[in-house]
């Protein structure tokens, strides 16, 4: 199927994409990579495709409401936000700018996985990814405190050089 994006759709996509993430307001939805498409259905009617980071992520409802709000403000009377699961979101969908902002915010960004394939499970070292850097001092000498931190998407770590604890946005 060939889909073409109109100028209006691109404009609306940009507006919806500028909405900050409700959990990590340093990131926009565009930088998080969760906004899939905008389809204009009529003169002032629009459908937005949004994908959740995690299946159970409660932020998706706040995101939907925020998207509806900004698009209403832009003259769209009828806004439908549809949740799509395929293709599954991956932390590789976070943009380079998004990663930079996460690091500046004190969260170690997820590492690129493209080369290493899907999340694999095995005992011992699970994946050959580049080393993780402490977002405060840049040291690679860090330890895992808990696989699950304040939200499911993050792990809690501690830097052994500067002793600061930090969140790591886990690769998914």
């Amino acid at each position: 199927m060939v889909t073409t994006t109109t100028a209006l759709e691109s404009e609306l996509l940009e507006i919806a994409g500028s909405v900050p993430d409700p959990e990590l307001p340093v990131l926009t939805l565009q930088e998080l990579g969760v906004l899939r498409a905008v389809h204009v259905r009529g003169a002032d009617s629009v459908e937005v495709e949004l994908t959740p980071t995690y299946t159970g992520c409660p932020a998706i409802e706040a995101m939907s409401l925020d998207i509806e709000r900004v698009l209403h403000a832009h003259g769209m009377r009828d806004v439908t936000v549809r949740t799509v699961l395929r293709p599954a979101w991956s932390t590789d969908d976070i943009t380079a700018e998004g990663r930079r902002k996460l690091r500046a915010f004190g969260i170690a960004p997820p590492r690129e996985q493209e080369a290493s394939g899907p999340v694999s499970v095995s005992l011992g070292p699970t994946r050959t990814l580049e080393p993780l850097h402490c977002p405060h001092c840049g040291s690679t000498d860090t330890e895992l405190l808990s696989r699950f931190s304040s939200t499911a998407c993050k792990a809690l770590r501690r830097c052994l050089s500067c002793r600061e604890p930090f969140d790591h946005f886990k690769e998914l």
Binding site: P52, Y54, T55, G56, C57, P58, L85, R86, P87, A88, W89, S90, P118, V119, S120, V121, L123, T126, L145, S146, R147, F148, S149, S150, T151, A152, L156, K170, L172
Partner: protein, 243 residues
Amino acid sequence: MTAPETAAVATTAALALGDDALVLSHRLGEWAGHAPVLEEEVALANIALDLLGQARVLLSTVGDEDELAYLREERAFRNLQLVEQPNGDFAHTIARQLYFSTYQHLLYAELAAADGPFAGLAAKAVKEVAYHRDHAEQWTLRLGDGTETGHERMQRACTALWRFTGEMFQRVDGLDVDPAGMETAWLESVRAVLHRATLTVPEGPRTGAWPAGAGRQGVHTESFGRMLAEMQHLHRSHPGASW
């Protein structure tokens, strides 16, 4: 197969997987305020949240998610008996997690690879469940190969829950997977983890002796009724209430 029959088997499968996720989510949620350390409280709640998200997607394909969760009677639930087992001590919860997350990870990996009705959810959830499985495996090693008390409790838990593990590999209508192949992979993985954790692989039977079946047929264990009473109480007492 005619269209209504196809829909019926998809419903059977969605209820089975959705109920597994919902019931285990509730059990893990019971740890809130009681876990041995704060990090684990957060971890178990996060795993519960992942499972709840999966349950919502699955149950919504069958009907109204709230009605299904809060207004069904015990016999209408199709979850495995394993996931309804009480939390017990932390070792019990970890053994339950090890057995179930290994199964769920294998199952979702197969469903994600096939192009059936569950491929979209499975492709997403398999990545989440990989972390649940890793969490359970690491804790099994730590408890099993740790102190004498940890070892003893972990062994007791693995043995106690062993008889609920056969049910996972019953064929479920509408699930395009190979249960025998999954069972072989499951046994291989769980045995390897238990060996490394210096634990003994339990030897007893892996299914109950009830001819009526088990959770997939709506036959549940005693504690499930009490769990449902707590889970459904608020919704039944205040129908339609909202914040």
